[in-house]
């Protein structure tokens, strides 16, 4: 199993009654902010990632969230390029994984292709390219994309990005959402014909099928509570894999999850509980439903399915007021001593055939020292056990940079992303 540390850059000092007094964590007034804390948040987040890279993690990851107080990272590529350089200088062979830039949001897809190619060049071929479809509040509200166009824009933009990476000659692009008389980006990615591509989703079967049919990895995050949603989502994924005739290679599936490791179970609960509550009540829980799902973003059959059975949302609908116990019981976070955490993660990986784990080790208000402790305990006591998972089955990992031990898939060039089925 490959293990990649994931971080956000949260504002860690929201008022204690934030979730009661403020509308949301994606419309938070800037007046609340202490600028020194903003600087510290970025420094600490990058330091924690670099520490993970030095400690034996296989990769480092950030993602994209604009206009949000829970993650002040409108462009993960700025953070990832800093890590690409720093790890190159230190000779740390870790993957650099921007989980997004969302292509349903992007109005400049060629710029996305260029930025990813730059990270691959800076890191010497260690980029993992993440392309989420796009969160409603980010793609639609922050970036003005009509919700009903998010999918079509993702589809077209991904095709353009892949073509820009792979085409040898300059080409003209006459798209619905962008037009270019000539595309000939410099640099191209070091990894040819392209870096591994991962799509993050919350369980939409159309997205799952799309990743399986096109050879991309599928990343799922468990913040809604994997004990409520995991079986539904992962079983669905493997059933679709069977339907489209893809082998159940665990390396095509990734699980991004919040993890807190203490010296003992009791220590972990005591140390991390306030930060877990901050992350889930003030962060994720303070993103109202109407900002995660907007009319037009989900097609009519999907709407019928969700209105009849909202189970894929797990604990999310009551996250704002959920207690620590409810959060842990639902599996929104895995917390405990090293053995407890390693047991739980091993079981999840085995049960659901997960080949890539993306633990999030800094949550909400968690201070630097505690986050570094979490990284250290995870690296020393949990990571060795996780690394052994799947080693016995001999699967090739086509979703990992070749330089870092991944296997290069055979592509037909130039590769065209297939059109997404409309949902």
């Amino acid at each position: 199993m490959k293990v990649t540390m994931f971080s956000q850059v949260p504002y860690r000092r929201l008022p204690h009654d934030f979730e009661k007094k403020y509308d949301s964590v994606v419309t938070t007034p800037w007046d609340l902010v202490d600028p020194e804390e903003v600087h510290a948040a970025f420094r600490d987040s990058l330091d924690e990632q670099l520490f993970a890279a030095r400690s034996g993690f296989d990769g480092v990851a950030f993602t994209e969230h604009s206009q949000s107080a829970y993650d002040m990272a409108p462009n993960p590529n700025l953070l990832c390029s800093a890590l690409a350089y720093a790890t190159d200088v230190e000779g740390l062979n870790v993957a650099i994984y921007p989980v997004g830039r969302s292509l349903g949001k992007a109005r400049e897809p060629v710029r996305v292709a260029e930025e990813y190619a730059m990270i691959d060049a800076i890191s010497g071929g260690r980029l993992i390219a993440g392309f989420p479809v796009g969160l409603a509040y980010d793609a639609n509200i922050n970036n003005g994309v009509p919700p009903i166009e998010t999918r079509a824009r993702f589809d077209e933009n991904l095709t353009l990005v892949l073509k820009a990476w792979q085409e040898r000659e300059p080409f003209a692009w006459n798209g619905k959402f962008s037009q270019h008389s000539a595309v000939n980006i410099w640099p191209r990615p070091v990894q040819q014909p392209r870096p591994p591509v991962w799509i993050t989703g919350i369980g939409n079967p159309v997205t799952m099928k799309f990743t399986l049919e096109n050879g991309y990895g599928f990343n799922y995050f468990g913040w809604f509570g994997y004990k409520l949603t995991g079986k539904r989502i992962f079983d669905r994924f493997w059933e679709i894999a069977d339907q489209v005739g893809q082998p159940r290679n665990p390396y095509r599936l990734s699980f991004l999850h919040a993890v807190c490791v203490g010296d003992t179970d009791a220590d972990a609960e005591r140390e991390y509980a306030p930060h877990i509550a901050y992350f889930f009540n003030k962060g994720l829980g303070s993103i109202p439903l109407e900002r995660l799902a907007l009319p037009g973003g989900i097609g009519l059959p999907g709407l019928h399915a969700i209105l009849r059975d909202p189970g894929d949302f797990g604990l999310y609908l009551k996250m704002r007021t959920a207690t620590f116990k409810e959060i842990v019981d639902a599996g929104c976070v895995i917390v405990g001593g090293p053995d407890t955490v390693a047991d739980l993660l091993s079981q999840v990986a085995r049960d659901f055939r997960i080949g890539h784990l993306v633990p999030m080790l800094q949550l909400g208000s968690m201070p630097r020292e505690l986050a570094l402790k979490n990284v250290r305990l995870f690296a020393e006591r949990v990571l060795p056990r996780l690394h052994r998972i799947w080693a016995d089955e001999g699967w090739d990992n086509y979703w990992w940079p070749e330089r870092l031990g991944g296997k290069r898939p055979e592509y037909q060039r130039p590769e065209e992303a297939r059109t997404l089925e409309r949902i």
Partner: protein, 269 residues
């Protein structure tokens, strides 16, 4: 739901080189009248029932909202496409005389666009709280992103009134309630394609082209689309008449049905 005395029939016409089937609900007798529905889709109400006594109402459903054909919206890229598609559809009805157009909110914007693009398409124009203009000092509420719990207060002066409650009510049957909710959300998504994120696509530059008699009706307590826009429309459309209604929100034909009907009937007769 609202009681109706008659059931509309359906008429379809193929447009857009055969790629789109436009569905019209048709009811009534008399002079032809095109009713253009709001963002939430076509809902039959007592106002339309009353109009159908003296007019034949043809009400087109925006592509994507007709039963069994949700993908049709993906054939329409932008407002310019939509205006051409509606003109084509209305032309293909082969009406004996140019119809009257009545449009509410989103439908009001569409009616104004059609009348501005095609000055001979309609005989008269009635705009009920139309969207389509934007002033920085009077921003429209974003009804698509609003929490469902806040919608009634955006739409009605008195969300508790029987007329408002009747419009907002969901069917008792759980399956039908799911279908109604899904249809409403999808309709907001389909119409949102042409007005997201700001419901202004340059209509202010085109309103002067409208040359037919025009009545503009506005609820004085419209919290979604403030009444200041009534005068903006009135000044931009030469010879138009502006009527505002007291104790009335965004949907005058539902919240103040009798007053709205009288204004419209007087104008049309």
């Amino acid at each position: 739901m609202t009681q109706t005395t008659m059931t509309p029939t359906e008429r379809t016409v193929k447009v857009w080189n055969g790629r789109i089937t436009m569905h019209f609900k048709v009811i009534g007798t008399g002079t032809p009248l095109i009713y253009l529905h709001p963002a939430a889709g076509l809902a039959w109400d007592p106002f339309l029932d009353a109009l159908s006594k003296t007019h034949t109402i043809y009400s087109p459903e925006i592509p994507g909202t007709s039963s069994g054909d949700p993908q049709a919206i993906h054939e329409v890229d932008d407002l310019w496409d939509l205006v051409l598609i509606y003109e084509e559809a209305i032309r293909r009805l082969d009406l004996a005389t140019p119809p009257i157009a009545v449009g509410q909110s989103f439908g009001g914007m569409l009616a104004a666009e059609l009348a501005a693009h095609f000055p001979n398409l309609f005989a008269k124009l009635v705009l009920l709280d139309p969207i389509g203009l934007w002033r920085q000092d009077a921003p429209l509420a974003n009804w698509i992103a609003a929490p469902p719990t806040e919608l009634p207060a955006l739409l009605f002066k008195d969300p508790g009134s029987p007329a408002a409650q009747a419009m907002l009510a969901l069917p008792d049957d759980p399956d039908k309630a799911v279908a109604a909710q899904a249809a409403l959300i999808w309709a907001l998504g389909c119409t949102g394609k042409f007005v997201w994120p700001i419901p202004e696509r340059g209509l202010h530059k085109r309103l002067h082209r409208i040359s037919v008699p025009t009545l503009i009706v506005w609820g004085e307590n419209d919290r979604l689309n403030p009444v200041v826009y009534a005068q903006e429309f009135g000044q931009a459309i030469a010879g138009s008449r502006v009527e505002t209604i007291a104790n009335c929100g965004h949907i005058p034909q539902v919240e103040q049905t009798d007053i709205t009907l009288k204004l419209v009937n007087d104008f049309l007769s």
